[in-house]
């Protein structure tokens, strides 16, 4: 076993901003990674897409730099981006050591002084860009709307995970400038944020700079945590028609929240079912029977409750009902017997290697800075790295089997068949035709 760790120092400024510094002097770069604890789960039905729209508006300028966010940073050699999901929004820059001041100045200016620079025109342009993004990534992409149908069936309309993070097209079109400003006032301030500096920087200097640039920004209100419980009472069977050549079946279940008991077990189950040629579903469906062309499964770990998603694309000439019955047989076997010792060893070897690989980069999505923020914001424990790996090391055949038995129930899941237009007969039996946009 490898002993690996992700050391850091943490302080909280008087305005509530968490600041974490991780030193790594191998390459003269520093990753600046800022998380706001706001995502699409903080929106309301009929008013969706705000958190993601903000990810766009945050690059349009702030009071003291009332112009595009990219040019000064790119002139300094930075790489930068941002992303939004159900639970959080992250913004990051990877800069040469010489440009840390600049990156912190820019990040703090848009935290403290965004609204004076946010014009109606900028808002309207970015609203159009987002509508284009939605068309490009969802509406004009095969299977792009499958997740919309799955989320809508898995979560009731008032549940904060019912909608896609990018939002509903009609909600985006209906957004009002004043509502956008109000959303910023509620969520984008030190008390709801966490800053990580990782790379070629001393901890003492990191804290000094954080204080200098963020220290005088008012704390702002601490938003109340979103909570919602949900259970499926039965199995939902749906069909969606799409511009696709080959039909695909999806199965989705509610599963334990991120870092909760059994979350790691569900991750291992996904691996056992669908990662690599030796995984159970790939081997049976693609390798032996040749009735499918690809399989995938993942535990989509989220803050207030996760879902486990499985997807299999059928080979030409094989209806989804045939594929579904083989999937169910394999699921039943896992739930009855659990993984073999050998399968578990294999998954563990992969999990351990991937924990090491994650230590290779300081910045970007999934780099060390992002990892520390995930632990700090979603676990309130930036020191969680070793314990996180420990969750996987502690898994046994019995705990994996038990998790499968508890969560992967046939009578509490969403089954969705996506079929070529006009070919409903290829879908799973007893499915209701739905239409989403």
């Amino acid at each position: 076993m490898t002993d690996i760790d992700l050391p850091f120092v943490k302080r909280t400024l008087s305005n509530g901003l968490d600041v974490i510094v991780h030193e790594d002097h191998h390459v003269p770069i520093v990753a600046v990674n800022l998380w706001y604890h706001v995502g699409s789960k903080n929106e309301r039905p009929g008013r969706t897409g705000f958190a993601h729209l903000f990810e766009h508006l945050m690059f349009e300028g702030s009071e003291h730099h009332n112009a595009g966010y990219f040019p000064p940073l790119q002139r300094a050699g930075a790489l930068l981006n941002g992303s939004t999901n159900t639970d959080r929004t992250n913004y990051w820059e990877v800069v040469p050591t010489s440009a840390v001041d600049l990156a912190l100045w820019m990040e703090s200016d848009r935290m403290g002084y965004l609204l004076p620079a946010l014009t109606r025109h900028r808002f309207e342009t970015q609203r159009d860009v987002v509508l284009n993004e939605r068309r490009q990534n969802y509406e004009n992409r095969p299977f792009g709307l499958a997740l919309v149908a799955i989320l809508a069936s898995l979560f009731p309309p008032e549940h904060p995970y019912h909608w896609l993070t990018i939002g509903a097209a009609e909600d985006i079109r209906a957004m009002q400038f004043e509502d956008v400003q109000e959303f910023f006032r509620t969520y984008y301030h030190p008390a709801n944020a966490s800053l990580v500096l990782a790379g070629d920087i001393d901890a003492a200097r990191g804290f000094d700079l954080a204080e200098e640039y963020f220290g005088d920004i008012p704390a702002g209100p601490k938003p109340t945590a979103v909570q919602a419980d949900v259970v499926l009472a039965n199995e939902h069977r749906l069909t969606l028609e799409d511009r696709v050549e080959l039909p695909r079946i999806y199965m989705a279940w509610h599963s334990p929240a991120m870092f909760a008991a059994d979350d790691a077990e569900m991750d291992l189950l996904a691996d056992l079912l669908a990662t690599g040629k030796t995984s159970r579903l790939y081997r049976t469906l693609v390798y032996d029977l040749r009735i499918a062309v690809d399989v995938s499964a993942y535990q989509s770990s989220r803050e207030i409750g996760s879902f486990f998603l499985l997807a299999v694309t059928a080979a030409p000439g094989h209806p989804l009902g045939e594929v579904a019955s083989v999937i169910d047989k394999e699921l039943q076997a896992v739930v009855d017997e659990g993984p073999t010792e050998s399968e578990l060893e294999r998954s563990m070897a992969q999990a351990e290697a991937h924990f090491v690989y994650r230590l290779q980069t300081v910045g970007g999505f999934g780099g060390k800075s992002d990892q520390l923020n995930a632990y700090n914001v979603l676990r309130r424990d930036p020191a969680y790295f070793a314990a996180d790996l420990g969750r996987y090391r502690a898994a046994t055949r019995q705990t994996v089997r038990a998790a499968g038995k508890t969560y992967l129930r046939f009578d509490r899941r969403v089954v969705l068949g996506v079929v070529p237009r006009g070919q409903q007969s290829l879908s799973v039996p007893g499915a209701e035709l739905v239409s989403v946009s």
Binding site: T2, D24, H26, V27, P28, I29, H65, G68, F70, P71, P72, Q74, R75, A76, G77, A78, L79, P96, S98, A99, D101, L102, W105, D109, T125, V129, N132, R135, Q136, E139, N140, D208, E212, G215, D216, R243, V244, E245, L246, G276, K277, T278, V286, Y287, R290, V293, A315, P316, R346, S347, A349, Q350, E352, A353, V356, Y357, L359, Q360, T361, G363
Partner: protein, 456 residues
């Protein structure tokens, strides 16, 4: 201390960075080896680069190089395809295959304690694949199914049609996956023959980067790859002929996709080889025109007009003449206007709108100041070194890159752009709803669009 918000903070002098030192070795069998010490995390990365990619596909077997590459992890010695997958997983390996136009690359990254196992597994796969009929049938069928699925993906449809428009019948004129007809014609003997002809130690390069000394890495690869021998036979397949004509004329083509929510656009022409002395100037031109978020094309089409989620330009580099391409997915109603704006930006870059001082400074800085971050992981370093081998660039390339880019002037950029780009030769392609956009295209003055089939 409180921040001074009256002005942006100064950026200090660029930090010193020592680029990786590459050591070259040649094994007795002719295999060229390059090692790089990369001590940060206990990880090691191997890349085997075989001379020959999709450009070596012998007609009518387009797609053969990719099928061969796919067959590599389908079994070796006593290991079945499933055993190989299992063996890779047990060392936590990240295995990947990249079939390019000129070469095929096999990468394997693993923990340092599995260095020997990783190297010997990779060597066994690349040099002694089982090539069984049953595995071949499955692999080929999966590629045929994949091809069918690609018909649903507008970017893939566009990429296929655009390569054909630019290169015609040249070996670069098809995607690595080939087409339905060619895949069906490929049989196992073709696969075996291709492998024996091109997968040879004397035509391959092995790059290793990891937390070990040069000596240790050399020992690992000698043990693993030392027994690879050249098959004593005449090669029936050879690496691609790289010449391609850069002739062309302004034209417009469309692949009809009824009901498409957006139009997928490609605008470009054959431009230059990767090893042209104009390379730094062309990189700068691209950064100004469309290589970055703040480039002219994205600012115009996304930030000013709101036509798209993003528009960008780039070179798809090859040993032979490579294309320069602008790509964007635009709202259907904005198709003709977006093309007009895009053509205008390219035209401006070759004539009336040379890069301003500010644009050039930004482009230079973004290429050079961020350069060290490309050397963070063993895999990044190995890939960088493999590129040097691919294009026959010197080992001093990395350290010379920044001074070379900094030496380029605005005049150099304009001269290089004019040498390699000609607005009169640009091909524009739309994959979109012809019924909706058809009439608006007349305003472009490019004549009646050529209608292309959505082939596979």
């Amino acid at each position: 201390m409180t921040a001074d918000r009256s002005r942006l903070p100064d950026v200090g002098p660029d930090p010193q960075f020592t680029f990786p030192i590459i050591v070259r070795h040649t094994l007795e069998n002719g295999l060229k080896v390059r090692t790089v010490e990369h001590p940060s995390v206990p990880v090691i990365s191997f890349i085997v680069q075989v001379d020959g990619g999709s450009g070596s596909d012998p007609s009518p077997h387009e797609g053969l190089a990719a099928v061969v590459a796919d067959m590599i992890d389908e079994g070796t010695g006593s290991l079945s395809a499933l055993d190989v997958s299992d063996a890779l997983a047990r060392i936590g390996a990240d295995y990947d295959v990249d079939v390019g136009a000129d070469v095929t690359m096999f990468g394997l990254t693993t923990l340092i304690r599995f260095a020997d196992r990783g190297a010997s597994l990779l060597a066994s796969l690349v040099t002694r694949p089982s090539m069984r009929e049953d595995d071949f049938g499955r692999v080929r069928q999966l590629r045929l199914d994949r091809l069918r699925q690609l018909k649903d993906l507008a970017p893939a449809v566009a990429e296929r049609a655009f390569l054909r428009l630019l290169y015609g019948a040249h070996p670069y004129g098809h995607l690595p996956i080939g087409n339905d007809r060619s895949l069906r014609e490929i049989a196992l003997p073709h696969v075996v023959d291709f492998h024996e002809s091109l997968y040879r130690p004397d035509r391959s390069t092995l790059v290793v980067a990891g937390a070990m000394s040069h000596r240790e890495m050399l020992d690992v690869v000698r043990d693993a790859f030392g027994s690879w021998t050249v098959t004593q036979r005449d090669a029936s397949v050879s690496p691609a002929v790289v010449d391609a004509s850069v002739d062309g004329h302004a034209r417009l083509a469309i692949v009809a996709r009824d009901g498409a929510a957006q139009s997928e656009l490609r605008i470009g022409q054959l431009a230059a080889r990767r090893n042209t002395p104009d390379y730094p100037a062309l990189l700068l031109m691209n950064a100004v025109l469309g290589g970055q978020f703040v480039s002219r094309v994205n600012l115009k089409l996304r930030e000013e007009k709101g036509y798209t989620y993003g528009a960008r330009t780039g070179f798809d580099w090859r040993r032979g003449v490579a294309p320069f391409v602008l790509q964007a997915s635009v709202h259907t109603a904005a198709t003709a206007d977006a093309i007009k704006d895009a053509l205008g930006e390219i035209e401006g870059m070759t004539s009336s709108r040379p890069p301003s001082d500010d644009e050039l400074m930004l482009a230079r800085a973004s290429l050079t100041r961020g350069y060290p971050r490309n050397f963070e992981t063993a895999q990044q370093v190995a890939r960088g070194v493999a590129q040097l081998a691919l294009y026959d660039l010197p080992d001093t390339y990395f350290e010379e890159f920044i001074p070379k880019v900094n030496a380029v002037t605005a005049d150099d950029v304009m001269a290089a752009t004019r040498r390699h780009l000609d607005p009169g030769k640009l091909t524009s392609l739309i994959v979109g709803d012809h019924a909706v956009v058809g009439d608006s295209l007349a305003t472009l003055g490019l004549g009646t669009p050529e209608m292309l089939p959505s082939e596979s």
